[in-house]
């Protein structure tokens, strides 16, 4: 069963802003799924629709087996909103208690979880302090703790590492991996592509309200795999016909099959051409992202990759 299964979600805000134009995606149980896209792509809109904070214009699909918009499903979902604000008169522990009580978590359970989550997110000793004394990163950590208070099957995080220092980001990444190992499905969106690359099983790239690419990072970058050979001399004439691209002293052969380039290496060597490097290259998530964004802006100038 998939944790999230969205089919053709549309959202038009008042004032005719088309934030989502037919988004479909599915998140499996127990996986980390990353949603990326430029500012204003509609990521937060999509997350808010899942969390019933806003109503979709048109939607079908399920979240944890219940139709979208069914509040019963929320009992099993933990959510960290984009720019969350907790009431300033509460302490860290009170925040955790309050929001999980709204989720229907019993008091004894809340007590145990609050203490352990504060520890787990590096907020030991801060539970009794008013949250208006917290720093931005600490509030973010508290937000994540809050999202975990109901021991959710599905965790939805909107920019979880926003404002968190590098050490904290790493801790959060480790936490996400641990949570995944414990069987939680995680759906997150972030602009830190290198981080998503490290933790996500699958990603979707969303641009202007549409998912343009979806899949494992491996499969998405598969097509871009290539072998680059850099030489010290001018590339001989014949290289132009056997390589896919020759650019200065760098020659590129698409695909990741190393045996295809061996005869060419032999020939270069036999022609006394010194080889400086041979390396397999693949697109980074960032390249992929740029390509996806670019594709929407100039359709047709690149190959479609979905």
């Amino acid at each position: 069963m998939s944790a999230i299964d969205l089919v053709d979600i549309h959202k038009t805000y008042k004032g005719k802003v088309k934030a989502l134009r037919g988004v479909s995606l599915d998140v499996n149980e127990g996986e980390i799924y990353g949603l990326l896209g430029p500012n204003g792509a509609g990521k937060s809109t999509l997350v808010k629709i899942i969390m019933t904070v806003i109503h979709a214009t048109r939607a079908s699909g399920t979240v944890l087996g219940l139709p979208i918009g069914d509040v019963r499903g929320l009992k099993q979902i933990g959510y960290l909103p984009e720019h969350h604000r907790f009431p300033e008169y509460l302490t860290g522990t009170q925040v955790l208690h309050f929001y999980s009580a709204l989720c229907g978590v019993e008091r004894s359970t809340r007590k145990k979880r609050a203490a352990s989550l504060l520890d787990r997110l590096g907020l030991q000793g801060w539970g009794r302090k008013r949250i208006n004394t917290y720093s931005k990163g600490m509030l973010q950590r508290l937000g994540i703790a809050q999202a975990l208070m109901n021991n959710p099957k599905l965790l939805i995080l909107d920019e979880p590492t926003d404002g968190v220092d590098p050490v904290g980001r790493r801790e959060i990444r480790d936490l996400l991996s641990e949570l995944k190992a414990e069987g939680h499905a995680i759906f997150l969106n972030s602009h830190l592509l290198s981080e998503l690359e490290m933790v996500c099983d699958r990603v979707a790239i969303m641009v202007k309200g549409k998912v343009t690419m979806q899949g494992t990072i491996d499969s998405l970058t598969n097509e871009s795999k290539r072998i680059e050979i850099e030489i010290d001399c001018t590339p001989p004439e014949w290289t132009h016909s056997v390589f896919d691209k020759v650019d200065g002293q760098t020659m590129t052969k698409l695909g990741d099959n190393t045996s295809t380039v061996q005869p060419m290496i032999d020939r270069l060597r036999s022609e006394q051409c010194a080889i400086r490097s041979i390396k397999p290259v693949r697109e980074s998530l960032e390249d992929l992202f740029m390509r996806a964004v670019d594709y929407i802006d100039n359709p047709g100038s690149h190959g479609e990759n979905k």
Partner: protein, 378 residues
Amino acid sequence: MTVFKALLIDAYRQLSAAKLFWLTLGLSGLVVVLYGSIGFNDEGVTLLFGLFDVESEFITAGSPWARGFYLGIYSYFLVTIWLAWVATILALISTCSIFPDFVCAGSIELSLSKPISRLRLFLMKYLVSMLFVMLQVSVFCLGIFLCVGLRLGEWNWMIFVAIPIVTVFYSYLFAVTVFVGMVTKSGIAALLVTGVFWMALFSVGASEGILTSVVTSQEVQIERYQEGIEKQQAILDEIIAKSPEDFRIESKQSRIDEMKTDNEASVEFLGKIRAWQEPISWILTALPKTAQTIGLLDRWLSSDDGFDLGAIMRGDMSELEEVEEIDPTNHWAVQRETEKRVQDEYDGRSLWYVIGTSLIFEGFILGLASLIFCRRDF
């Protein structure tokens, strides 16, 4: 239940974090202490724990007048002026931003993403927002209860009736605050509009009161004219029967004609005033009846003994002095009769009219606000 408890605790934390809450509580305490400082001895009333003496023939320690006087100060002054006016303003100021804060970006997402339907969440939040007033009034009433108990030796539980009455009164206004807060997301705007609304209610209520008095006084006047005309006519008939040539016939006849003209003028005036009074009382029927809701307490608290401070404050001393029977068409007599009838009229208005119709209005406003809350994209 867990959810409601959580919201209630949260409401309490929010209140207790606000200075205004404690300020209001402190002022309430001061008012209670001042009230408690009023005592009675054999000569009359003592103020500020005996610092000042006011001699009085009737209001002495142990007399039923003292009891009525002391309870009257509570039901007439403290409830209408302190609770229903000053404390309510402070309460509205403290609570006007509860809903705008609740729905502000970044915090509403946290509440809406919980497994509670929006309508339930809205209604529960509304109910717990009454906590400010309930707490304040409860503490106040407890203080008054103790004062009355110690001063009069009477543990009058009716004093606590002020808690639901003032809360209901406040809720009429708060519904408007919530509605405007929902539409504008601004506490200040909500407060201002509520203030204007309150003034409008006050004006409609006062106009209705004045017009009702005028109508009643015209009715009394017309009754008196008619009685007078009948009486004079009977005398005239008698005189004519005795001697049709009597010299008094002419003057009597002209007196009767004069009264008839006056009567006609009054009837005409009554018709004109009614044309105003009726639509206004219909409007009032549809609106919350703030003054009358607060008036219930006075009605319930002072109905069982003869001393009515409210009536005295309205200038009616009839119950203190023995007023001898005077000419019923006399101006003062008409006025007294009018006041009595108006008072009876208001006292006779059913709970359904005073509170029921007001709650329907409140429900309507809340319905609109909840509709906005349930349908909005946050």
